[in-house]
């Protein structure tokens, strides 16, 4: 029973709680058996439930399998490359593994009465849609001292599916030049380091350090994470590192499709969390994207990787019940990692609580985000998260934030900040930093916020003896950083003035025309 909150009514006059399902407890699909599960006010029996979940999975995935849509309503499925699955050990990715195997890689197709494969030749189980499948897992224990390495437990799970090849990665590979050489073919990528201010903060100017200190990949990632200003930033950084590691691994391995096991609940959480952290511009990429690394100038464009979340219409409750009724073993994520606080954890608590009483609102979040579209075309690909980058971010930030101080006392307080980092704060002082050292223009708004956000709980102090620089992932330095804005691959180019004039020449009004 729930109270309506009106103090004028009797305390015992409670409003009856709304039923969580329709009038009947029988299955709405077969209408023969009593229901076993309630999914968003609809009741299903155990036998009808599994096919419904599998149908949602296929409807979310199969329209994106073929490289071209074609004209047939039910085309024969044939992908242009192999398949890559991102596996975390969690509920959604465990079910993804099971469904993909049963639907597309099972070797024993069921036969009908005449001995032919059931479902016809176009049924997914009877045709090889993808020639092979790799399962990528990113172990994060290197980032957290004392965390247990679960790679072998994950390997045991993946080995239950003999058609799949297991590709274990480690989170510190993001700072490992040898891994980058393997996936990109580039063996001369410089490690980019950020200069820290006196207080150990990554400054708003995001200036590149001039010196390089040799660190192991594990030391580098721990230093990187410890330099981030907030728990939210750490959580976001780990997600980005994991995603980019898997993207590059899948792409370099010849995959045409990369699947993640995000359920509808997880997806809604990540959408809200991303928007809260300034990632609204790339919200469509959070749902589904076609990704390719930015090619260096002169090289041919690389194949596109389709990143899909085929469980995006399946709630966490459906995933849990599917796993239980189909004996899908779920390892789960490490408790220490799940305990990371921040916006992501707060959003998760909110959405999970919302789903309990108002299950349809979780779907509403995802459906609404699907309709969002950025106003303008991206100006390139963010160097850190590899997602589309909005143009004119710094100009916009300049309009909404304080960039200069007229008060003499405040200006004097800037003296403790190193000169290269002071330029963005004090416009009265001419910048003495060459453009070569500025990283700001190569990052999207979300990544910029991740690196420079301030915690209300105060700033972290740099311990004595700790380096005043922090490393960035190895792919940030790919293709170099040039002061004239020429990044290669057409991502961003400074247009000469004459070229700009030629472009708009037809739209200019001559003075002679005005006088007439």
């Amino acid at each position: 029973m729930s109270s309506c909150g009106n103090p004028a009514v009797e305390e015992q006059a409670l409003m009856p709680r709304r039923s969580k399902f329709g009038k009947s407890k029988d299955c709405v699909r077969c209408r023969l058996k009593p229901g076993n599960i309630v999914i968003r006010h609809a009741v299903y029996c155990k036998e009808c439930f599994t096919p419904i979940v599998e149908l949602k999975f296929r409807k979310a995935l199969e329209p994106s399998v073929n490289a071209r849509a074609g004209t047939s309503k039910r085309p024969k499925l044939k992908a242009s490359g192999n398949l890559c699955l991102g596996f975390s050990g969690g509920l959604g990715s465990s079910i993804l593994l099971d469904m993909v195997h049963n639907t597309y890689f099972s070797n024993q197709p069921p036969l009908d009465d005449s001995g032919k494969p059931r479902g016809g030749i176009n049924h997914p189980r009877n045709a090889s849609v993808w020639p092979s499948c790799i399962v990528c897992y990113v172990e994060v224990c290197g980032a957290f001292p004392g965390m247990q390495d679960k790679t072998e437990d994950i390997r045991t799970i993946v080995e239950q599916y003999p058609s799949f090849d297991f590709v274990p990665l480690r989170i510190e590979d993001a700072f490992d030049e040898s891994w980058w050489t393997k996936v990109s073919g580039s063996n001369s990528t410089p490690q980019v380091w950020l200069e820290l201010s006196k207080e150990g903060l990554i400054t708003d100017g995001l200036h590149v350090a001039s010196k390089v200190t040799g660190l192991t990949p594990v030391e580098a990632i721990r230093l990187y994470l410890s330099s981030l200003p907030t728990q939210t930033a750490i959580s976001s950084a780990l997600q980005n590192l994991t995603r980019v590691l898997i993207l590059h691994t899948a792409h370099s391995g010849g995959s045409s499709h990369l699947l993640f096991g995000s359920s509808l609940t997880s997806l809604s959480i990540s959408l809200l969390s991303a928007i809260s952290q300034g990632g609204g511009y790339a919200i469509r990429e959070e749902l589904q994207e076609e990704w390719a690394p930015v090619a260096t100038s002169g090289s041919k464009p690389s194949n596109v990787l389709r990143v899909i979340r085929p469980l995006r219409d399946v709630t966490a409750k459906e995933c849990a019940v599917y796993a239980w009724w189909n004996n899908v073993s779920v390892i789960g994520r490490d408790k220490q990692r799940r305990a990371i606080l921040g916006i992501a954890a707060l959003t998760k608590n909110f959405v999970v609580g919302l789903e309990k009483d108002y299950p349809s609102t979780v779907s509403t979040i995802a459906r609404t985000c699907e309709k969002l579209e950025p106003k303008d075309a991206p100006s390139g690909q963010c160097r850190l998260c590899k997602r589309p980058m909005q143009s004119a971010i710094q100009e916009w930030k300049g309009r909404i934030s304080i960039r200069s101080y007229s008060d003499d006392k405040l200006a004097a307080d800037l003296a403790h900040i190193p000169l290269p980092c002071r330029s963005n704060l004090d416009t009265s002082t001419p910048s003495q930093v060459p453009p070569l050292l500025a990283l700001t223009d190569f990052l999207c708004y979300s990544c910029h916020t991740t690196l420079t956000s301030r915690s209300s709980r105060g700033v972290k102090q740099t311990a004595p003896g700790i380096s005043s620089v922090t490393p960035l992932p190895i792919w940030v330095g790919d293709r170099g950083l040039h002061g004239d804005g020429l990044m290669g691959g057409g991502a961003r180019r400074k247009i000469p003035e004459q070229e700009m004039l030629d472009t708009v020449a037809n739209f200019l009004i001559d003075k002679q025309d005005d006088e007439e």
Partner: protein, 130 residues
């Protein structure tokens, strides 16, 4: 034992970590329990279990043992750590799915479902994400 019921429990989805890492357990529940869900004098309680969080003496009124009482009982006598991850605002925490004999507890009246001997109650955490 007269006036008691054997309830089979299964913990899944990581929830077993809160219950001594034992997936399958069973408990003895009295057929009639205090209406205020006090678990002070439950047949499963012993000196080795953590001290009860609900030590107030029962008011004397009783009810047929239901799922709401079972949840309090599990929190007070079987849970080893982090009670806030299992129970919230007097009921099961959001994100934990409950199946009663393979049926969603929402179809059986949730906490007001009256327990029967040899019922199987499954608690599955859905909070491990994708």
């Amino acid at each position: 034992m007269a006036g008691t019921m054997m309830i089979k429990l299964v913990f899944s989805g990581g929830l077993e970590l809160l219950f001594s890492n034992e997936r399958n357990q069973s408990v003895l529940i009295p057929s009639f329990v205090p209406s205020d869900n006090s678990t002070h004098s439950s047949p499963s309680s012993s000196s080795s279990t953590p001290s009860s969080y609900n030590d107030t003496p029962s008011t004397g009124e009783t009810k047929a043992a239901d799922l709401e009482y079972l949840i309090y009982h599990l929190r007070d006598h079987l849970l080893k750590e982090r009670p806030e991850l299992f129970m919230e605002n007097g009921t099961i925490r959001p994100g934990i799915l409950v199946l009663i004999n393979n049926t969603d507890w929402e179809l059986e009246g949730e906490g007001s479902y009256q327990l029967r001997n040899n019922d199987e109650i499954v608690f599955i955490s859905t909070l491990h994400g994708g």
